[in-house]
C-alpha cells in the first residue's frame, strides 16, 4: 500500500484543524491526568489501609491521678485493677497479643514527638513530667475489623480511662482520601465524555472538509481502511500527545510531590512508589487509546462507509 497519501493527509488534517486538534489534545490531557490522579489516590488509600491495617491496634489508657472519667474516680490505677484488665486481654478471642507501655516509655515517645523552636512552648513541654503520663496497654488484634467486642468489654473496667482505636483516628483521613479519589474520578468521567464527543465532532468536521476526496476515493475503489487511515492516524497522534502530557503530569506529581515533599518529611504512612506510578501510566495510556480510537472508528464507519 502506498502511504504517501495517508501521511500527507495526516499532516493536512492536523494543520487544517489546529484549534480542534488542540482542543482534543487538551481535553484528553486533563481528563487522563485526573484519571491518573484518581488511580494514584486509590493506590495510596490501599497502601495506607494495608500499612495501618497491619499495625492496627487499640490502645487502652489507664487512669492516672489526673484522670476524671467514671472508671477513674479512685485515682491512679491499682495493681489488682491491672490484673483484672490483663486477665480479660489474655482470654479474649479477638486479641492476638498485648503489651504494657509504662509511664517512662510514654514520656520518651512524647518527648521525641513534641519539640518546639519556640522557647515558651518548649518550656511548657518541659514542665510535663513522666508522672503526668498514663500507663497503657497496646493491644494487637487478630482481625483489624473486629475490635468492638474487646473495646466495649475493656472500657467498662475499673482503672481504664479511655480506649482508643486507630481506625477512628484515621477515619477522617480515609474519608477525605475517598472524597478526593471519587471527586477526581467523577470529574474525569465528565471530561472523558467531553473528549469522546470532541473526537467524534472532529472526525465529522474532517470528513466534511474532505468529502470531495472521499467521494472520489470511494468511486475509484479505494479500500475502507485506506480512506479511514488518515482519520485514525490523526486521532492516534492526538491520543499520543494527550497521553504523553498526562503521563508527564503524573510523573511530575510523583517526583515533586510524593518523592521530594511527602516521602522525606512524613513517615506516618507508606507512600505510593514508582511501581504505582507506572501502573497508573499504563491505565491512562490504555484509556487514552480507547478514548480516541472508539469514537474514531464509530464515526469513520458512519461517515466514510464505502
Amino acid at each position: 500500500m502506498q502511504l504517501t497519501y495517508v501521511f500527507s493527509e495526516l499532516g493536512n488534517g492536523l494543520k487544517r484543524n489546529v484549534s480542534m486538534s488542540i482542543a482534543v489534545i487538551v481535553t484528553i490531557f486533563v481528563s487522563l491526568t485526573l484519571v491518573g490522579m484518581g488511580l494514584l489516590l486509590n493506590a495510596q488509600a490501599q497502601k495506607a489501609e494495608e500499612y495501618w491495617g497491619s499495625k492496627l491496634q487499640i490502645t487502652v489508657f489507664l487512669c492516672n491521678q489526673n484522670s476524671t472519667t467514671a472508671n477513674c474516680l479512685n485515682g491512679e490505677v491499682t495493681g489488682p485493677q491491672k490484673d483484672e484488665i490483663e486477665k480479660v486481654l489474655e482470654t479474649h478471642p479477638e486479641v492476638a497479643s498485648w503489651r504494657l507501655q509504662s509511664k517512662q516509655e510514654a514520656y520518651q515517645k512524647w518527648k521525641s514527638a513534641y519539640v518546639s523552636n519556640d522557647e515558651t512552648e518548649q518550656r511548657v513541654y518541659e514542665s510535663i513530667k513522666a508522672s503526668d503520663m498514663q500507663e497503657s496497654y497496646w493491644v494487637q488484634l487478630k482481625n483489624p475489623e473486629k475490635f468492638m467486642g474487646i473495646k466495649s468489654q475493656v472500657s467498662g473496667l475499673e482503672g481504664v480511662n479511655t480506649v482508643r482505636d486507630l481506625r477512628e483516628v484515621l477515619k477522617p483521613i480515609y474519608f477525605w482520601m475517598n472524597v478526593m479519589k471519587w471527586g477526581a474520578i467523577g470529574i474525569a468521567g465528565f471530561l472523558v465524555v467531553a473528549a469522546v464527543l470532541q473526537v467524534g465532532n472532529t472526525i465529522r468536521l474532517a470528513a466534511f472538509a474532505r468529502r470531495r476526496e472521499i467521494g472520489i476515493m470511494r468511486l475509484v475503489g479505494a479500500s475502507s481502511l485506506y480512506i479511514q487511515l488518515p482519520f485514525l492516524m490523526e486521532s492516534l497522534v492526538a491520543a499520543f500527545i494527550g497521553v504523553a502530557l498526562a503521563g508527564g503530569a503524573l510523573v511530575a506529581f510523583m517526583y515533586f510531590v510524593i518523592y521530594e515533599r511527602l516521602r522525606p518529611t512524613s513517615n506516618i504512612v507508606a507512600w505510593i512508589d514508582w511501581a504505582d506510578g507506572v501502573w497508573a501510566l499504563g491505565w491512562i495510556a490504555l484509556i487514552g487509546l480507547l478514548l480516541t480510537l472508539v469514537p474514531t472508528l464509530v464515526m469513520t464507519r458512519k461517515y466514510l462507509k464505502v
Binding site: M1, Q2, T4, Y5, R212, E213, G215, I216, M217, R218, L219, V220, G221, A222, S223, S224, Y226, I227, V306
Partner: protein, 229 residues
C-alpha cells in the same frame, strides 16, 4: 457484462419504486444510452451498478458476479473495474491535472512507476498532452471533463459509467467528449451514458434504453432520443 434480473428498487420512506421490475443485459464492449426524464430511474440504475445502492428485489450482475451479495470489503474491488464520470466533473481543485488523474491510482495503492507511466499516456489519449501541470480552474469545461474521463479511465476499467457528461457543456465541446467516449468504447470498454442530450443520441446511433417511471419503455439497438414511428 451487466445484467439486471427483475430488479426493483424502492428507497426507504417512498411508496413508488424508483426502478420497477427491470430486466436487461448489456454485453461487453457495448455503448448504451440511458435516456428518460428526471426521476425516471436513470441515476438509480447507475447507482445499482456501482453498488452505491442495493436492489429491493431482483439481482444485479456485474462481470458475472451478483453484486448485491458481494461482501462489503469486496466492493472497492468491483469499483476498480468501473470508471465513473459526472456532469459536474468532480475534480480536486487544489491538485494539478496530472495529480488529479494520478490520485485515482495512488489511493488504490498502485506503484509510483506504474503511475508515472500510465498517467501521461492517458492524458494523451484524452487530448490533454502538455496540460498536466495546469490547475482545474485554468481549463475550459470540456478540458475539465476530459480530465475527469482520464481519471475514470486511467485504471483501464471494464465499464465506464457517464452520468450526463455533456450536461454542462456547449454542443461543440460535447461532440468532442462524445468522440472521446466513442474512442474509449472502441478499446473494448463497455460505456453506459445517461443523458438528456437528444442531439448526441440521434447522432451516435447506439443502443438506447429509455426509462419512464422506473420501467423500461424502449430498448432499441440503433436508436434515437425520441420515439420513432
Amino acid at each position: 457484462m451487466i445484467r439486471f434480473e427483475n430488479v426493483t428498487k424502492t428507497y426507504a420512506g417512498q411508496s413508488r419504486a424508483a426502478l420497477d421490475d427491470v430486466s436487461l443485459e448489456v454485453e461487453k464492449g457495448e455503448f448504451v444510452f440511458l435516456v428518460g426524464a428526471s426521476g425516471s430511474g436513470k441515476s438509480t440504475f447507475l447507482r445499482l451498478v456501482l453498488r452505491e445502492a442495493r436492489p429491493t428485489h431482483g439481482k444485479v450482475y456485474v462481470a458475472g458476479k451478483e453484486i448485491n451479495r458481494l461482501a462489503g470489503w469486496k466492493v472497492p474491488g468491483l469499483r476498480r473495474q468501473i470508471g465513473t464520470v459526472f456532469q459536474d466533473f468532480r475534480l480536486l481543485p487544489n491538485k494539478t491535472v496530472t495529480e488529479n488523474v494520478a490520485f485515482a491510482l495512488q489511493v488504490i495503492g498502485k506503484p509510483r512507476s506504474h503511475i508515472n507511466k500510465v498517467v501521461p499516456e492517458t492524458l494523451e489519449l484524452v487530448g490533454l498532452e502538455g496540460k498536466g501541470n495546469r490547475m482545474p480552474d485554468e481549463l475550459s469545461g470540456g478540458e475539465q471533463q476530459r480530465v475527469a474521463i482520464a481519471r475514470a479511465f486511467v485504471n483501464r476499467p471494464m465499464i465506464l459509467i457517464a452520468d450526463e457528461p455533456t450536461g454542462n457543456l456547449d454542443p461543440n465541446t460535447s461532440v468532442g467528449i462524445m468522440k472521446l467516449l466513442d474512442r474509449i468504447n472502441r478499446t473494448g470498454t463497455t460505456v453506459i451514458m445517461a443523458t438528456h442530450d437528444a442531439g448526441i443520441v440521434d447522432q451516435m446511433r447506439k443502443r438506447v434504453i429509455e426509462l419512464s417511471g422506473g420501467h423500461i419503455v424502449r430498448d432499441q439497438s440503433r436508436g434515437v432520443y425520441g420515439y420513432q414511428h
